[in-house]
Amino acid sequence: MKNYFEIENLKVDYKTYEGEKNVLDLEHFVLEKGKTFGLVGESGAGKSVLAQTILGILSRPPGIIKSGKILFDGEDLLSKSEKELRRIRGKRISMIFQDPMSTLNPVFTVGTQITRVIRQNQGVNKKEAFKRAVEKIELVKISDAADIMEAYPHELSGGQRQRIIIAIALSCDAELLIADEPTRNLDVTIQAGILKLIAKLQKELNVSVLFIANNLGLASATCDHLAMLHEGKIIEKGTTKEVLHNPRHPYTKAFIEAIPKDKNHKIHLEQIAKNNGTSLNSAGCPNINLCLETEEKCQEHIPMLKQFQGTHWVACHRVQENKEVNL
């Protein structure tokens, strides 16, 4: 069966002052239709780079796509021309950005911005576009949709702006939605509403969602499947339950351990404290400093993502030899 969305051997580098640095190295990545897939990692792990590469909006330079394929419904996005990509962007693949204030143009009304997108992607006239825009705003549960059309972004609250962004993202009936930390700048009490909205729309419109997050709690509540991204590589993936309740990779374990709990709980991250996370040795596994016990292999080869149990895959030498990994 042909996979709906599949990434193969994607390598993306960034050109810096000191030379080329690898920012993304994905061997294999699959998204099933109609499901929510979570991508969790720290800032700088490569999440936004991946999102931008999929949409073809990665600035190159400084970004360089060295190799790989992004197969969307059987076609390789990386081999498409800009013209073809423009037809896919917005129409079939859409993105919800992190910061609604900088994504919305402050000098145009919200209505103008939505109708512009609709007209561009659906080629309808002004009147029809206006009608559809109002529909979309109602879809994202903003009351007084007609009034909101006349409002400027700064007149709306953070939550409303984010809903507008979602409305724009969905205004062209996209099949694949990339949500890049959509609730990052929102209050916690508004967050749940936005997440539920995305989930509801996903079910109703049978949209596939790639949910990018840096918070495991969010990923746990929203995603069916999860992949942990660290320095451009996926080091663990599986169902949300597998990854979060039976983490195998030391980085995943450390990430979970780092979440503060109650007062009596001491966060045990002595290894990280000593070495500040990752080693600079480019030959071996970058996470070598997290582990108490390591092998020779860990110093020499970067581990590949291999199947551990069923849908649970881990990129760690010791795990692949069925040995325990302790922090």
Binding site: E42, S43, S157, G158, G159, Q160, D187, V188, T189, I190, Q191, A192, G193, I194, L195, K196, A199, N214, L216, G217, L218, S220, A221, T222, T240, K241, L244, H245, A254, F255, I256, E257, A258, I259, P260, K261, D262, K263, H265, K266, I267, L269, I272, A273, N276, G277
Partner: protein, 321 residues
């Protein structure tokens, strides 16, 4: 241990909105209204709230970076707003702050040594080698290497910059340290390290903390007592365990209910609050939370609720109690 270090009564700060040719106030932003609380020596008070709750204004007023509209703050038996300039200067040594932004809270053109030594240079007249010694001591305390002294902030990561800020705050052996969202802008691993460092320092140096954060897990990890704020007012106050396990105010309940953790399996388990945070210029009458409260009653918009004692120092301002 039980000595009251900080006593805040009826603290209020309203900002005027000026308009017209003569810049007359046409409206007031009621940023902080009638806040009361106490902090005891050796305690960590966590202040929790979302956008618009008045945390930032509260911090500015507490540190006398702004004068309040009304209210009193007594720090170590000295009235913060009516003491002499000399006393205030003296006081500043004991009341220090660590800010949120790891990049802009350190002067990017200064060297680390000057940044950490600034409090020493302002208040004490130390010889240069004494200053350097003290700076090295402080850097060591926060886990930074000695050679950091001659570097610039941009050579350090976010977590390390916060350590520099902590070193600076500790330079004069303060009694009370205000931490304004100290880990909100850094990654989760640095956050863990900083939190453990803060805990360690508190014990070693017998510090008292006021920790402000919108992240409940951070507050839960660090605090002895917690104060929940909404739209400029205190809605609930009590021991950390009481607040987390037996929240009384509907807003606190909503706040706790809204946060997913790794044990949350589906979105049905979390709930959002309807509506948006009202503007602080015209806050709702009566109980300010009444417009979004799921347990609102008819008279909630008419009368302002007073703080009711639920037992062992746990108070909440709600008509339901």
């Amino acid at each position: 241990m039980n000595e009251t270090l900080l006593q805040v009564s009826a603290l209020t700060k309203h900002f005027p909105i000026l308009a017209g040719f003569f810049s007359r106030p046409v409206a007031w932003v009621k940023a902080v209204d009638n806040v009361n609380f106490e902090v005891h020596r050796g305690e960590t008070l966590g202040i929790v709230g979302e956008s618009g709750c008045g945390k930032t204004t509260l911090v500015n007023v507490l540190l006398n970076l702004m004068k309040p509209t009304a209210g009193k703050v007594i720090f170590d038996s000295i009235d913060l707003y009516s003491c002499s300039k000399k006393e205030l200067r003296e006081l500043r040594q004991h009341l220090q702050i660590v800010f949120q932004d790891p990049f802009w809270s350190l002067n990017p053109r200064w060297l680390v040594k000057d940044i950490v030594a600034e409090p020493l240079n302002v208040h004490l007249k130390l010889k240069p080698d004494e200053t350097i010694k003290r700076v090295e001591e402080l850097l060591d305390m926060v886990g930074l290497p000695k050679d950091a002294v001659f570097k610039s902030p941009h050579e350090f990561s976010g977590g390390q910059r916060q350590r520099i800020a902590i070193a600076r705050a500790l330079a004069l052996n303060p009694k009370l340290l205000v931490l304004d969202e100290p880990t909100s802008a850094i990654d989760i691993f640095s956050q863990a390290q900083i939190l453990e460092l803060l805990k360690d320092l508190k014990e070693r140096l017998n510090l008292t903390y006021i920790l402000i954060s919108h992240d409940l897990s951070v507050v839960h990890h660090m605090s002895d007592k917690i104060m929940v704020m909404y739209l400029g007012e205190v809605v609930e106050y009590g021991a950390a365990d009481d607040i987390f396990n037996r929240p009384a105010h509907p807003y606190t309940k909503a706040l706790l209910n809204a946060i997913p953790d790794i044990n949350t399996e589906s979105l049905d388990e979390i709930n959002e609050l309807k509506g948006n945070v009202p503007s602080a210029v015209n806050p709702p009458a009566g109980c300010r939370f009444n417009t979004r409260c799921s347990e609102v009653m008819d008279f909630c918009a008419g009368k302002k609720p007073l703080a009711s004692d639920i037992g062992s120092g746990h108070t909440a301002s709600c008509h339901l109690l």
